[in-house]
């Protein structure tokens, strides 16, 4: 059984996001493998280590050249090989799912792991759209996963709480915090990763044009009042705050 794990490269959470014209400019910004995708890579490794019949773990990224770094990180964590569909074109999640589904078919993957909501496009659509294109079921926001034979069991979050589930492969699983603690690549593994296969692929062969046109972006920082009260006298500070909330903001009664 092969696992395909999807990787996006996003700005580090603490990095400043800058605009150039009306588009996001990531030049000079620290970029990392998306945290939620990292849980996916780690989970693939853990499924293999748990004795599930995992023959191969393939890391896939679709995006600009710098994505190679994120793929090398996945390889250093323990993925077996990587595929990089290199493109500077901006695809929406539903259009991108076409590439992922095609690759899953040609690679004969039976399980796809992808982050639940990545930190660049704030979208939850990639896993679901990929599952639909393949005609597979999906488990989103998963925080516990087991694989025995072709049977998946686990737990995932839903609107108001969580559910335990059972499903049979093939399936798409979206990953998140709580699923595991991703490992750090060790130096020997980073060295080994340099020799692992990182195959380049061409977006043109996938017929995946974006259906959503990007018009512009703005960094909107809403002006906040920043009225800061000294809390040395708790009673006075509390009374002042309640007064502001009642009479100035008018948000409480």
């Amino acid at each position: 059984m092969k696992i395909l794990t999807l990787i996006r490269q996003v700005p580090d959470a603490e990095a400043r996001v800058r605009l150039s014209g009306n588009t996001i400019d990531l030049d000079g910004t620290t970029v990392v493998m998306d945290g939620m995708d990292e849980y996916g890579v780690e989970e693939a490794l853990r499924l293999r280590e748990s004795g599930a019949g995992v023959d191969e773990i393939i890391a896939l990224a679709v995006g600009p050249k710098r994505n190679e770094d994120a793929l090398r990180t996945a390889l250093a964590m323990g993925a077996d090989r990587a595929v990089h569909v290199e493109t500077d074109e901006r695809l929406d999640a539903v259009s991108l799912s076409k590439v992922v589904a095609e690759l899953a078919k040609t690679e004969n993957a039976e399980l796809i792991l992808v982050g639940g909501q990545e930190a660049d496009w704030d979208s939850q659509a990639l896993g679901a759209a990929t599952a639909e294109r393949l005609g597979w079921p999906q488990l989103t926001w998963t925080n516990e996963l087991k694989l025995e034979g072709d049977k998946l069991t686990g737990r995932h979050d839903v609107d108001e709480g969580n559910e335990s589930f059972e499903a049979t492969l093939p399936a798409v699983v979206t990953t998140q915090q709580g699923l595991n603690e991703p490992r750090y690549p060790t130096l020997p593994n980073i060295m080994k990763a340099k020799k692992k296969e990182l195959r380049k692929d061409d977006l043109a062969s996938y017929d995946a044009a974006s259906k959503v046109k990007f018009i512009g972006a703005e960094i909107q920082t809403r002006a906040r009042m920043n009225k800061i009260i000294d809390g040395k006298d708790p009673q006075a500070a509390a009374a002042q705050l309640i007064d502001l909330l009642r009479n100035e903001a008018k948000v409480i009664k």
């Binding site: 939850q124 559910e163 998140q176 948000v251 409480i252």
Partner: protein, 316 residues
Amino acid sequence: MILIVAEHADGKLAKATLEMVTAARGTGREGPITILVLGQNVAGVASEAAAVADQVLVADSASLAQYSAETWAAAVAQIAQEGEAHTVITPGSRSGREYAPRVAVKLDAPYLEDVISLSSSGAGLQAQRYTYLARVTETVEAQGAVTVISAKPGSFAPAAPAAAAGEQYDVDLDLPQSRVTITGKSMEKSSRVALSEADVIVTGGRGVGNAENFSKFVEPLADNLGAGVGATRAVVDAGWRPYAEQVGQTGKTVQPKAYIALGVSGAVQHLSGMGKSKFIVAINKDAEAPIFKVADYGIVGDVNEIVPALIEASKR
């Protein structure tokens, strides 16, 4: 027609459904506003929906008792095709954002996800949505005859009832069996107002100290203010509060009138879940905490001293 998929729970229509009606009216697109109600024993929900829509389609069946992305996507796509919907709007809840992409693939339509505004453009629909952990507002445009949309909760005003109640029609659907079996459920029901519907939210972070302090400080303050209780990821990870209360990238996104953050430092992942609140109040003993940068009102002080005083002051 514009097809809206109703969100409902416990036999009641959720506010999100009324918000979607406003979103639909704002598109300026022609055709009746149609609400699709999926579930079992949903007659009450359907008549609530009829008050705001031109028509309501009701699929009431045992096979819809349990939500499933595959089943919901098939139902919505089937109705959209038969009714020749040009616009399909789903809630921006976890479930809505789970089946909407499948609908988009089935209809070969563009998908505008978690939108905060909608307007018609020459060729299609334009929408705004947040990206980069809600630090950026993007404008995107969907081109094509059919568009699938999910509407971010709290972004559109709830619609007022229409002049006349819409007609209700029962529909029969040919639904696939979900290939996911749900073997257990743990619904974290709170007696307090749900975070998605709350006007005021009181959230505790690490600075609250421990789980007991939540019952001692955070909950009484929330009760005095008629507020919902929220928690940060660190607090949920520590097991002090249930996941259902978590606000942030991996939890809920909220947009109340007032967000009161107690002992919350303000990591970017947390801000992405609450940064759009109308008023933000921060109480933290660390004057350098990033939360103060986004606060309208703040008190630099110890939560354990300030909150009891707030509980007293809010009684009057």
